[in-house]
Subunit: 395 residues, 2 copies
Amino acid sequence: MTRRVALVGGGAARFGVRAATWAELVQEAGAALFRGVPNLRAADVDSLFVGAAEPERFAFQSHVAPLAAELIGVRPSKILQRTELACASGQSAIRSAYAAIAAGLCDVAVCLGVEKMNLPSMAEANTSMACVMDRPWDGPHGATAPPFFAMVAQRHMLEFGTTEEMLAAVSEKNHRFANANPIAQFYEKSFSREKLLKLPWIAPPLRLGDCSSMTDGAAAVLLVAEERARDYTDTPAWVLGTGQYSGFHNLAHAGPLTEWTGLTRAAREALRSARLEIGDVDFAELHDCFTISEIVEYEALGLCPRGEGGRFALDGQGDRGGSIVINPRGGLLGCGHPLGATGIAQALEVYEQFASRVDPRRQVPDPEVALVHNLSGSANVHSVMIYGRTAPGAS
Amino acid sequence: MTRRVALVGGGAARFGVRAATWAELVQEAGAALFRGVPNLRAADVDSLFVGAAEPERFAFQSHVAPLAAELIGVRPSKILQRTELACASGQSAIRSAYAAIAAGLCDVAVCLGVEKMNLPSMAEANTSMACVMDRPWDGPHGATAPPFFAMVAQRHMLEFGTTEEMLAAVSEKNHRFANANPIAQFYEKSFSREKLLKLPWIAPPLRLGDCSSMTDGAAAVLLVAEERARDYTDTPAWVLGTGQYSGFHNLAHAGPLTEWTGLTRAAREALRSARLEIGDVDFAELHDCFTISEIVEYEALGLCPRGEGGRFALDGQGDRGGSIVINPRGGLLGCGHPLGATGIAQALEVYEQFASRVDPRRQVPDPEVALVHNLSGSANVHSVMIYGRTAPGAS
């Protein structure tokens, strides 16, 4: 019997195209964490897990975990490490902290995610993004993220009649939620479907509004052992389960582009370990790196039959008033996607939704269970966590 | 009560200046793992933890965990991640696997460490190494690893009268052990103290033989839950305890250069959790990135009084026939130091020593307890693990 683990708060730096350096983003997230968890003292923190995808390229800095510790003013005496899983680096940090706390190896852990992606040379930043794919094999064919997900979208259109309007429905929803999220890159910016459908192509059929951004950002959350939870909050979000699946890396091994069985397997494992079913989930933070991603994810999670994800979006089934609220934070599309920070900011959203602390325009009514999903690379790895407002095993 | 965790075998690619690519090194280590653990089937492996420090710079590849999974032929269904902690990235992977298995989140985990450091442009490789230190603050002062550890050595000489001969004694011992280790970079190469003292300066007083190398290498070990241990080996090495401490990052906060309190604290925590004392340790794999490191580590571990580490080396107290055997594998000095692979290769040495499977010239007689140490960066982070031939809690 391992210990239960609670997420008890956090904070984030503003996401966007920022003048801040990598280090300044970390400091902002650290300050926001201590503001967000007022009872937390630096000396309480025994561990730090940093989620960061490519600081070696974006910030010419490795060994980032001790640097981040110093920047936020903590001296971990139990565990200090960085985890990298490309676009899922943040959630990977949370999963590591969860395991370590459950095993009794630490008690009070900060999970901090950060990425500085906007560089003086955006050509260099984009080149660095190519590192995420199988560079020697898929790189020469131009398989970076936008063309890969464009292939997924084209295939989905071919197989199922999915339309650009359906893609735009996802983007409109997520930007609308981000419009009510002060840390979002697209805070207080609105995009009608009509406007989205006139934005320039990035990789057809994906337009600018179908793609998450190159974003600077950082976020931090606090995970603690069950006996410490009430020290920090009256509204803990409990880790109920987790799952992950890695199917392939080289695109030649990908299988059907529009059927993300890795997500199906990861979610099944996460729900099994939480002793829940997908119908129990009140809202989900899904990895909408592109609009088509969210549509395929609806299907892989069993929220709708295969091929009907586009219709699900168009009908507002993932919107407030629909069957489940998807990405009330604003998603990667609306918040931007600072790789390492995304998974942490999603977890922070779960905490704040459970505590009913978000803008009413994006508050999910009385949520009890939330699912968080990140994919990484060419949707070859899927990572899922389930959080609940009620502690596992509690009656 | 969490589960006990056993290290049940592994394998390594040859360390050295290799024509192999990053991917080929991973494949070699994977093949060596399956040879080293004959009962292991790829389908048994539910998790993969990759220790890699800077693949983004050395191999222009990120998202390396799923790539490594594919290269060694496994499909993790539980946990897949890379950990980075500079020179301690390998041990960080093992600590992550230990936590996850202890918490019941996975059962059969491969920990794979890898680094490809020899590039067509060694200027570029050396520049990448500068990422490990606090680049914007300490970088402009030239504080990469050799000058930093040279300062430690100069200070140790000033304070305690440590001599070049004492440094050479460490190097001679570790190269002699490496001479009997087929995977070592300096396998079948011997270095007398006299010869070592004539090698060129790198950063005075450190000569070429006082510095670990820029090395290509990879290694993999298998960690499993206690109930699976006997499926794979009759001689498991049990994880008894672990500890880590992070004191600072910026050199301005370093405190006394010759007193590594972080190691003292990390080792104390590891020994406490193992319910052992330093006198119970039969041999230790210490992080001898430079000869002076091993000398300061003797002192920080309490193997000798502060200031007497050089004498301890000169007297052969860390050699076979001394009070404890230090670095029978050959250390970083003799094996080379492929950053992510080092911690994994050290753990593999523990397994093979316990199983009495190494060359008689470096076999420790009947070892029961081993300590593994890695430092990272400017000796600001110290990570320690304790392994035993007898399961914890067993009579």
